[in-house]
């Protein structure tokens, strides 16, 4: 959305329809293009824990099913590089590198703002080590680890193990290539690299640039093999992550950041712990909280079920700091308030329940449509008219109004729809 003019019942809105560089009418969503695309980038949908191609679909079940090209990474759009692979592959002839953004002019009677929320950036809280300690992650990243369609197919793995697996994978590839080069020398000189190296270091072979290169190549292969073996030995020791610590109120109920309670995170941590335990029965889960706020229909029972049936441990106390041990395992430092003792607990993964914040860019939208924001940057509403913004004909629902869970978002959405329908009733 670029521009809004007019008032209740008669708004003129300018919308920029971004180019996908793939024709929506022609694309069948087959995915052949992405399979062959040579450009790999971190996948936003999986919180950067997985990879996608430069031509991609945001997520497998996503709607619309049309693929799109990420022009920032696509080689064809980047100067100096030739590619065009997807255009050649696509049988539907759907690829159109020349497609342009379209400007649409809409006339509408009412507007519903449902722009949702963003997650609090936990790196703002240095004592928890997010971004510095590999095995400290946020709750949405953990959702992707739990998901069967996620980067680990639902196995809860430590991020450091994922990183090591990736290193092993790329290390093996590189080693294979380097060994191939050694093979060429061996074939040419009819000698094994090990034998050659012995002679070379004994000073029996001295002349020739090529021999120096061969020796260097042999040394680097030896070194890479050693490194790879060490990594593999380390990786072998680790299994799935079974000791989990959930840290509540990260960026919420904190006077340095957001004073409010984000309302849904106690419930999502209980949920995530339950699912982790369901995936792996050995899981030991601890939920560190000031109090567990489970307000909603059936929510309190859910919490009790989590403790009694699933065996989750609820620990009362705010976590002071997270450090890590020599195996990159997070150590949770906290005061157990029930016994008033400072304690620590070593886990495999620490999962931060980060606050729900008004989305980036909300100020721009507010300015464009002329509505006010409240002191927490969400759209301002009145307690008795929770869906009405400060401008008639413009309504709000979901987390753009304030933190709330899905049942509440859906209820608000239906109500906002009714309010919007009311606003245009009898018009035109």
């Amino acid at each position: 959305m670029e521009k809004v003019t007019g008032s209740n019942g008669d708004f003129a809105v300018t919308v920029r329809k971004k180019a996908r560089y793939v024709d929506e009418d022609l694309c069948t969503g087959c995915g052949a293009c992405a399979e062959k695309c040579p450009t790999t980038v971190p996948d936003e949908f999986n919180m950067g824990l997985g990879k996608r191609k430069a031509i991609y679909k945001y997520y497998t079940q996503g709607i619309p099913s049309t693929f799109c090209i990420d022009a920032v990474h696509c080689r064809t759009f980047q100067k100096g590089k030739k590619c065009g692979v997807c255009e050649k592959i696509c049988q539907a002839k759907a690829i159109d590198y020349k497609q342009e953004d379209k400007i649409l002019e809409l006339k509408v009677g009412a507007i519903v703002l449902a722009v949702g929320y963003d997650l609090f950036d936990a790196a703002k809280l240095p004592e928890y080590g997010y971004g510095r300690i590999t095995n400290v992650i946020n709750a949405l990243e953990f959702e992707r680890l739990l998901s069967a369609s996620g980067p680990t197919e639902g196995h809860v793995e430590r991020l450091s193990d994922l990183r090591d697996h990736e290193l092993i994978h790329s290390g093996e590839k590189k080693l294979k290539k380097a060994t191939k080069t050694l093979g060429k020398y061996e074939k040419k000189h009819k000698k094994s690299s090990a034998d050659f190296y012995k002679e070379f270091t004994a000073g029996n072979i001295s002349d020739g640039d090529e021999f120096a290169k061969w020796a260097k190549q042999y040394e680097s292969v030896q070194e890479a093999t050693k490194k790879l073996e060490a990594l593999k030995a380390k990786a072998e020791k680790f299994d799935v992550a079974t000791r989990l610590a959930f840290i509540q109120c990260v960026g919420s109920r904190d006077f340095r950041f957001n004073k409010y309670c984000s309302s849904y995170c106690c419930m999502h941590s209980i949920k995530e712990a339950m699912i982790a335990k369901d995936h792996e029965a050995r899981t030991d889960a601890y939920i560190f909280n000031m109090d567990l706020r489970t307000v909603g229909k059936g929510f309190e029972e859910y919490k009790v079920r989590g403790a009694e049936k699933t065996g989750l441990n609820y620990v009362r106390g705010r976590v002071a700091e997270i450090t890590q041990d020599e195996n990159e395992n997070p150590i949770i430092w906290y005061e157990e308030t029930t016994s008033q003792t400072p304690k620590s607990l070593t886990v495999d993964l620490a999962i931060l329940a980060v606050a729900c914040e008004a989305p980036k860019g909300i100020e721009k939208i507010a300015e464009m449509v002329g509505v006010e924001l409240d002191h927490n940057r969400f759209f301002k509403t009145d307690p008795l008219n929770p869906l009405d913004t400060t401008v008639p004909g413009i309504f709000v629902c979901g987390c753009a109004q304030g933190p709330m869970d899905i049942p509440e978002s859906v209820a608000q959405a239906s109500s906002a729809a009714s309010r919007a329908a009311e606003a245009v009733a009898g018009k035109a």
């Binding site: 006339k107 507007i111 949920k271």
Partner: protein, 55 residues
């Protein structure tokens, strides 16, 4: 004067509002900044309080 409605955001809230409006027979325009609709909910594995799949 127009009877059309503009919904900005295609998360669960925007989708529900759009579906309801369309069911009332109104023309809805939905604007989403990402390539697909679904919002954060699409990224969730399962949802409380039923632990049903988020898709």
């Amino acid at each position: 004067m127009s009877k059309d409605i503009l919904v900005i955001g295609g998360g669960i809230a925007g989708m529900q509002a759009s579906l309801d409006l369309a069911d009332m027979g109104l023309q809805v325009h939905m604007v989403e900044k990402l390539p697909c609709i679904g919002g954060k909910m699409a990224q969730l594995d399962k949802t409380f309080p039923t632990n049903d799949c988020a898709m």
